[in-house]
Amino acid sequence: MANKVWVYIDQFKGTPNPASWEALGFAKTIAAPMGSGVTAVVMGSGVDAVVQKAFTFGADSVMVCDDVTLADYRVEPYAAVLVKIASEGKPEVIFGATSTRGRDIFSAAAADLTTGVIPDATEVVSKDGALVVTRPVYAGKLLSTVVCKERRPQMILLRPRAFPAPVETAGKSGEVVKVAPVLDESNIVTKVTEYIVEEGQVSVDSAAVIVSGGRGVNGPEGFEPIRNLAKVLNGAVGASRAAVDAGWIPYVHQVGQTGKVVSPDLYIAAGISGAVQHQAGMRTAKVIVAINKDVEAPIFNLAKYGVVGDLFQIVPALIEEFKKRLGK
């Protein structure tokens, strides 16, 4: 178990966060020159399948803490395990995916381990024995490079979809090290009573395609065509703050500085003007398409393809056309 590079695998009720595999794939490129393999760290309850996946995505070994106290995500038991194994195993670096849970666990654990934590990394390069990390700040208007010079482990959360997804190789396996939980239920003050989950909706966080609506959709029913287009493209529904504030769609869909920062392959903005605060959430999308009545809308400065027109005509036409092309 002498691997110097670890990757924490974020999962929710047994479903791994795909950004964890991106982190795993990238970790291999950092580990190889160090002459190290990569250890995946998996926590949860009934997570054999996640452990298996970690091998197929390239882990050389897996440390797993599988226990009922970890069935629901809570920071206390999760961080306690990470702190314990990291202080014993002394890795050089622990990578993870930037997510609500990733930020929680890494930040809490870093405080206990008296080391630094760097979230939202979009680029990481090795230099003089430390990792130099690039991360956007000021809502993506600026880029900063930071480094955790002396303290170890370096704890780095990679931004989802900023690093390539590794290819899966079936039938791989490796060493599995079982780790005991640190806290028992009586020592955990947080108790989860229920989940309120919007059924069957793709979340914007890791979606490859996002179709977003803004004030231009003109009401809650205006999101119907947006939703239908997203559905045809297996994508998620996004929204501007104006649409969220108007109460037309829940806040989870909001993209922008005070919403989610997303980085899909395709971002279609319909009836969104493209204010800087909205741009802060979507400017790193690979291909941006804007549909807007107003040729002067700032969103067109960012878009690769634009349509000047009424979204209520263009979006339904797009749905029909995509259905045809995709054989749906």
Binding site: F12, K13, D72, Y73, R74, V75, T100, R103, D104, F106, A108, A110, A111, T114, G116, P119, D120, R135, V137, Y138, A139, G140, K141, L142, L143, S144, T145, V146, V147, C148, V189, T190, K191, T193, Y195, I196, V197, S203, A208, Y251, V252, G259, L266, V276, Q277, A280, R283, I288, V289, N301, K304, Y305, G306, V307, Q313, I314, L318, E321, F322, R325
Partner: protein, 264 residues
């Protein structure tokens, strides 16, 4: 029940930023209360109105940050404190969290410390978790609703916003809670509030007042050091406007382009 809200002063989100010698400047754009922290302040006021006690705001930063605290007074906070000392300059997340934890401790009987989800300058979203660790309090992040609080039993029930939906949980006070938009609608300052705030003198706590270990603060103690900062390189995009004689034709032309990008 006493509630502390931690607020950071940041440049306005619409400010045009410039970088000179790795220093970020924003011309004459105003400095504001970090927008996420407005929700923390509002929640502290709502809790005070419901349960009594006091709403306290704390900010760490340069002397100019008193303005952010005046905004907090103007909307109704009872007390505000500025943590400011040249030796704190260059503090990273962990030193900031350490200083804020000590400041919260100095306020005295506090049941709840509220934070914004993240500061819109550094965009790190890490401070609340570390404050909780330093204080040894419960940590509840991304809270979109405080469902109930029982001050006598010292319990709290919240809804946390995760990627997959809301997680409802109960926990013990004292707690550190970070809040997201949607938890409330921040109020505007009242005329009386603004007058009161204008006259107020805001106490300043120095490192020594908080008993801070100087080895743990400032640029020298930072675990994470800044190497460089520069404007995001502008993506050279020239929009290609898709034309057509009918919506169907425009759609067909646009879909051609999108399919050629291989993003579907």
């Amino acid at each position: 029940m006493n509630v502390v809200a931690c607020v950071k002063q940041t440049p306005d989100s619409a400010a045009k930023l410039q970088v000179e010698n790795k220093h970020v400047t924003w011309g004459d754009a105003p400095l504001i209360v970090n927008p996420w922290d407005e929700y923390a302040v509002e929640e502290s006021l709502l809790l005070k109105e419901k349960f009594g006690g006091k709403a306290v705001a704390i900010s760490m930063g340069p002397e100019t940050a008193v303005e952010a605290l005046k905004t907090c007074l103007a909307v109704g906070c009872d007390e505000t404190y500025l943590v400011s000392d040249p030796v704190l300059k260059g503090s990273d997340v962990s030193s900031t969290a350490y200083a804020l934890a000590k400041a919260i401790g100095k306020v005295g009987e506090v049941d709840l410390a509220l934070f914004g989800r993240q500061a819109i300058d550094g965009d790190s979203g890490l401070t609340a978790a570390q404050v909780a660790r330093y204080l040894g309090w419960t940590l509840l992040t991304y809270v979109i609703k405080i469902v109930e609080i029982d001050p006598a039993a010292k319990t709290i029930k919240v809804e946390r916003m995760m990627e997959e939906g809301r997680q409802v949980c109960t926990a013990k006070l004292p707690a550190v809670v970070s809040v997201v938009k949607g938890i409330n609608e921040p109020r505007y300052p009242s005329f009386m509030g603004i007058r009161k705030a204008a006259k107020a003198t805001i106490p300043v706590w120095k490192a020594a007042d908080l008993g801070l270990d100087t080895a743990k603060i400032g640029a020298a103690a930072a675990a994470v050091a800044w190497v460089d900062i520069y404007p995001m390189p502008v993506k050279e995009t020239k929009v290609e406007m898709i034309q057509g004689s009918s919506p169907a034709e425009i759609a067909a032309n646009l879909v051609d382009k999108i399919m050629a990008e291989k993003v579907i």
